[in-house]
Amino acid sequence: MASIIDIKEECALNVRDFEFTYKGASAPSLKKVTMPIAKNSVTALIGPSGCGKTTLLRSFNRMHDLYPGNTYNGEIEFEGRNILGAKEDLIHLRTKIGMIFQKPTAFPMSIFDNVAYGMRLQGIKNKTELNDRVEKALQDAALWKEVKDRLKNDANGLSGGQQQRLCIARAIAVEPEVLLFDEPTSALDPISTQGIEKLVIELKERVSIIIVTHNMQQAARVSDYTGFMYLGELIELGHTEELFVTPKEKLTQEYITGKFG
């Protein structure tokens, strides 16, 4: 039996009896996942490789819809509606729930255009507004000082860590409610990793964050809640300190003490 903490505060997302099956797969990759995601806090997802962390994360912005034939079941509640509905406006949903990938995904355009991309998609053309919001986003992503003199340069000239912060700036520039991070530091050096972790903690004042990580220290450092997944199930969701110090489930205990995974 899973042990899921009851979250008293407001929730950004509510996953209920959620099942996900990839096209052609014989069994679902996520089984009856029920998981509240607290607002303005960081929720970490941990678990061994292949347990379904990425699959769950990519369900929140319906990324799976890019590849036809997958099936969702159950419910993911966001802003009072089930976002798994057939009528859900995915373009709107994705402006509300942003995503940062494992490898930096700077577009082949200038630094400025990268950050402005999402805003331009929303039809913002006003030069001053774009300039202001690009600067603000870059400042919030702790990148402004490094790039303010070369906003017109190609974004691919930045280092990996800078590119990842650029992607964060690009995502927060459209002021989303939720940000999804899938192992955002696994391709980065320790210093850049620290920078991203600091950012994640700062950003939770404005957005709710879900972060997938293989690094348990990272989960402990940045998150308020941690979910442990195993073989497509959410085994335990709890306050991060409690989950790491006094796990309620035997599987969680075995995983965090390194007995498997």
Binding site: N61, I91, Q122
Partner: protein
């Protein structure tokens, strides 16, 4: 002799033989180029660009008609072939992917790439020249475009597929609709490769003679009327080269030289763009 010694000897023989073959092949290539440059440069003069063709023996005869005709034919073929090729390549990479239809299109396009170009000329003769009742620049350009399309289609398809999937996902994750993802992100990422494909496609058709023989035909007169037969460098070269007149043969060399330099230039440019794109 030990097995090792034997292997070393065979190795050396193979190396010597393949080096020799390469030298012979290159020697012919440079021989051709050398003759072309010598005869071509010799035959070059300003009159070539000023005067149209005239009967053999006239002082003021040139290649203006063929140069302009060539540019019009290749330009028109580019206008038709490039958009169609790029759109078809985009369909394959971004929409068709590995569907059956996409596979069939890729296979047919590969077959078309190796089809003898005179067959394409015959095809256009049947579907354009015959119904119209006369040769025309349109017919020539359509024949060239048909040869160009599979080249551009395949390079576009390949180059778009090289753009990482996560880049597309990142754009979708910001709420971009599919056409925006393709236009803003995928095309930009594949820009250099697509441009190279276009240049190589143009270079390929610029040297074609056979598909023009019975589509745009060849006149010795200057024209810009797309509904008329139109001269081209290649067919003019062919006609002049097989003529018994010395001055025509001279013009033929000049035409060969200009055409080769044009095609060489396009090829080098295409490769430079690809290199510059890769280095980034």
């Amino acid at each position: 002799m030990t097995a090792t010694q034997k292997r070393i000897i065979i190795n050396r023989l193979a190396l010597a033989f393949s080096t020799l073959s390469a030298v012979i092949a290159l020697a012919f290539l440079f021989w051709i180029l050398a003759v072309l440059v010598m005869k071509g440069v010799d035959a070059l003069n300003w009159n070539i660009f000023i005067y149209e063709g005239s009967p053999p023996g006239y002082e003021d005869s040139g290649l203006k008609h063929a140069l302009i005709g060539q540019l019009i034919l290749v330009g028109l073929a580019t206008l038709i072939g490039v958009p169609l090729g790029i759109m078809a390549g985009t369909y394959l990479s971004e929409y068709g992917k590995s569907s059956n239809l996409a596979h069939v299109i890729r296979d047919i396009s590969d077959i078309m790439m190796s089809a003898p170009s005179i067959v394409i000329g015959a095809f256009v003769y049947a579907i354009v020249v015959m119904p119209m009742g006369h040769f025309s620049a349109w017919a020539g350009a359509i024949a060239l475009a048909i040869i160009m399309i599979p080249i551009i289609l395949r390079t576009t398809d390949d180059m778009l597929q090289l753009v990482p999937g996560t880049l597309r996902e990142a754009a979708f994750a910001l709420g971009a609709p599919k056409y925006k993802v393709i236009l803003d992100v995928v095309y930009r990422g594949a820009k250099a490769g697509i441009l190279t494909g276009v240049l190589l496609g143009i270079a390929r058709v610029a040297g074609e003679t056979a598909p023009l023989l019975f589509t745009s035909f060849n006149d010795n007169f200057f024209t810009t009327d797309l509904n008329e037969a139109m001269p081209s460098l290649t067919v003019t070269m062919f006609n002049y080269a097989i003529s018994p007149y010395d001055d025509w043969q001279q013009l033929g060399w000049a035409a060969a030289f200009i055409l080769s330099m044009f095609i060489l230039g396009l090829n080098i440019l295409g490769r430079l763009i690809l290199l510059a794109g890769k280095r980034k």
